[in-house]
């Protein structure tokens, strides 16, 4: 009879365990680790995707430091992340608070709020955005009705980034669901006890809800920051990076270098730079928030 120990509670052999996790390990090795390493190697080459690569050492990284497009893309991506992430967290949390109220048919609302997230930035959304934000679009028509001047959305280098941010902000479903899960795991007794002690709704939010959600907020912050830094699809579909490259993110730069200009080596080097930027940003967030999360 197989001996059940603390380390091996179900009594399977080491081989069986390895066998069971092997699909994940193999998948990760083949589809993540291998391309990851290959990408680093290609980043050290001059490679057009068609002819064999030529080793050029750190030339691509040196070029990156001088490349105006790269510097602009970093600036745009950071600006985009700084605009989007805090707004998305606030909107998601407020919506989650509303959807946490137990009323009849709340499931319908929860589903409805999640729907935009599954649309992504496909063609239908692109057309809808054109109906909304072009000069004769719905938003400007409403503004004019309200007596305000119409706004240049697509054509203004200052405003174009906002229509991308608004698209992603509208797609807050997954962030909201994580908040909702967190809200539902807060013990109701805490609110009941607070109420008995005369605590109001706002005080309860700041003294109970937010502290209880701090880890969830942090997870969402990390996930949304990573997603924002990797943004490609929305600016590619909605503005094509313009005008004047004001919505040209690092993701778009990688795509253009790789597929439009056949600079595969440089595109891989920029991918690694993006990886370093994201890793750096996440590390800073961990360091800054560690004390808050411990308390």
């Amino acid at each position: 009879m197989r001996k059940h120990t603390y380390r091996n509670p179900v009594g399977v052999s080491r081989f069986t365990g390895l066998l069971l996790i092997s699909p994940f390990i193999i998948g990760m090795a083949v589809f993540m680790i291998y391309p990851f390493i290959c990408s680093f190697i290609l980043g050290l080459t001059d490679y057009d995707g068609i002819h064999p690569p030529e080793f050029t050492g750190l030339d691509n990284y040196r070029h990156m430091l001088k490349d105006r497009s790269f510097r602009n893309a970093v600036k745009v991506t950071v600006k985009y992340a700084l605009l989007l992430v805090p707004m998305k967290l606030i909107v998601s949390l407020l919506t989650a608070l509303l959807l946490n109220i137990e009323i009849k048919g709340i499931g319908v609302f929860r589903t409805a709020f999640f729907i935009p997230s599954i649309l992504g930035s496909n063609l239908a959304v692109v057309i809808m955005w054109q109906y909304l934000f072009t000069s004769k679009g719905l938003v400007n028509q409403f503004l004019e009705l309200a007596g305000a001047s119409p706004v240049s959305w697509y054509g203004s280098p200052k405003n174009a980034i906002f229509i991308i941010v608004l698209l992603r902000l509208w797609e807050f479903g997954s962030t909201m669901i994580i908040f909702l899960t967190g809200l539902r795991s807060i013990p109701k007794e805490l609110y009941e006890a607070a109420k008995v002690d005369g605590c109001g709704t706002f005080r309860a939010f700041f003294s109970i809800t937010l502290p209880q959600l701090k880890n969830i907020i942090f997870i969402n912050l990390i996930l949304q920051t990573i997603t924002a830094f990797q943004e490609f699809n929305a600016p590619y579909m909605i503005t094509d990076g313009g005008p004047l490259k004001s919505t040209y993110t690092i993701g778009m730069l990688i795509y253009d270098e790789m597929f439009r200009y056949n600079e595969t080596g440089y595109a891989n080097a920029v991918s690694w730079a993006l990886f370093a930027i994201i890793a750096g940003a996440v590390a800073v967030m961990y360091a800054v928030s560690s004390k808050i999360r411990r308390n």
């Binding site: 190697i41 064999p52 692109v126 439009r260 595969t264």
Partner: protein
């Protein structure tokens, strides 16, 4: 642990480099002169008119060759180059491809990027093409592709709007600017130029300077023919078209259309923008969104002395066979059908411009199909002293240089002198790099 990591890295390097080196070792399947049952993938870009015609042509092929099935892969131009580039990088490209002229320089600079069609002469009747036309598809002594049609960009106008304003199509540059004033009074525009994938803004500016100076912008062997002053003149010309209300500013255009192509824009469909500069082979998509007969071909603009030089032509598109195809004979036979078959020519009509193949052109002429905007445009072009576009001119990176300069000038971010100097330096450096 450290050792294991080092071994793993070394293994990856070996796989990566061997994978990269593999392509050069790939040898093409030799032709055997027979047509065997198989499935061939065929890809093209275009508008709906071209898609519909091509699908009907494939139906005819299937009736004639039920054992050689054609799998169509098609879409719009935007993003098409990127799609095919990634297919070629991964060795997953279709057997037969409609390719753009500059792809030969970008994807097959030594002639080894596509199948050498000289080896497939038994299947493709090349006698229907003149030597000049065939030379467009030759790289490094290899026939990489066969030209489908030769075309040039021409001016097409919304006749209803012009008629309504009692305006005539412009014959000289002065006429064009005068039209801007006239249309401007009505809040309309006589023409549209873009910095999207079409890049017509820079195209018309080049024509203007080429006509004025007689110098080619980029020569066939990839040398920059313009001086800094020429580039500045071109940028000044562009700015004047905006200032004189000939075209919308880039800001207005972007605000009104978003990221949509002109033929999908309400401004064009509704007649607020009443002209377009387009390839004769691709004008169908503009024609189809307006009522029948409303879009008309206008004359090619000349200077005040009647000098009509500077306008350009190029192979509108070419057919190439993948160097990795397992069915070279069958792919070549299909290309021959598309290019030379008389019934197929009738089905395709002028959806890819006026056919370069004498056989297809004759078929269209006999059946009275050699009509329409593409034909009118090409007939007018034939009378001009045209310049053949250098394949280097259309490379994506080059377009980026032109469009960046035009956009910065349009938004007033820079003056035309600085933009011209920057464009000159960027183009010179890039051309030196790619010709190494």
């Amino acid at each position: 642990m450290k050792n294991t990591f080092l071994k793993a890295t070394a293994l990856c390097c070996i796989f990566t480099l061997s994978a990269c080196g593999k392509k050069d070792q790939t040898s093409s399947t030799a032709p055997d002169g027979k047509l065997d049952p198989c499935t061939i993938r065929f890809s093209w870009w275009g508008g709906d008119d071209r898609h519909e015609a091509t699908l009907k042509a494939i139906e005819l092929w299937n009736k004639m060759h039920p054992d050689i099935k054609i799998t169509p892969e098609y879409g719009g131009w935007d993003g098409w180059t990127e799609k095919v580039t990634s297919q070629l990088s991964g060795g997953t490209e279709p057997d037969v491809m409609q390719i753009n002229y500059d792809w030969l320089v970008a994807m097959s600079p030594d002639g080894k990027g596509f199948y050498d069609l000289n080896e497939l002469k038994d299947q493709i009747d090349l006698s229907n093409f003149s030597d000049d036309v065939l030379s467009f598809g030759k790289v490094g002594g290899k026939l990489n592709a066969v030209t489908v049609s030769v075309t040039g960009r021409g001016l097409f106008y919304n006749s209803e709007v012009y008629c309504h304003l009692n305006a005539e199509y412009p014959r000289t540059w002065d006429d064009l600017f005068a039209l801007g004033d006239k249309f401007g009074q009505n809040g309309l525009y006589p023409l549209d130029l873009d910095i999207q994938s079409g890049g017509t803004a820079w195209y018309l500016a080049i024509v203007y300077v080429q006509q004025k100076t007689g110098r080619e912008f980029i020569t066939m062997d990839g040398e920059l023919g313009f001086t800094v002053d020429d580039i500045k003149t071109a940028l000044d010309f562009y700015r004047e078209t905006e200032d004189r209300h000939v075209i919308r500013t880039i800001r207005t255009r972007t605000d009104e259309d978003g990221n949509a192509a002109l033929y999908q824009s309400q401004e064009f469909i509704g007649g607020n923008v009443a002209g377009v500069l387009e390839w004769g082979s691709s004008v169908g998509k503009y024609e189809s969104v307006l009522p029948d007969g409303v879009l008309e071909a206008g004359p090619f603009i000349t200077d005040e002395n009647g000098n009509s030089g500077g306008w350009m032509i190029k192979p509108s598109m070419l057919y190439a066979v993948s160097k990795n195809t397992e069915y070279p004979d069958e792919a070549a036979a299909f290309i021959n059908f598309l290019l030379n078959d008389k019934e197929c020519a009738k089905i395709l009509g002028t959806s890819r411009g006026i056919p370069a193949s004498a056989s297809a052109e004759q078929s269209l002429e006999e059946s009275g199909m050699l009509t329409g905007l593409a034909q009118k445009n090409d007939a007018m072009l034939e009378k001009l002293d045209t310049i053949t576009i250098s394949p280097y001119m259309e490379l994506s990176r080059m377009k980026e240089f032109y469009n960046t300069a035009i956009e910065e000038v349009s938004y007033g971010m820079t003056d035309t002198s600085s933009a011209a100097q920057e464009m000159y330096d960027s183009i010179t450096t890039y051309l030196e790099k790619i010709k190494k």
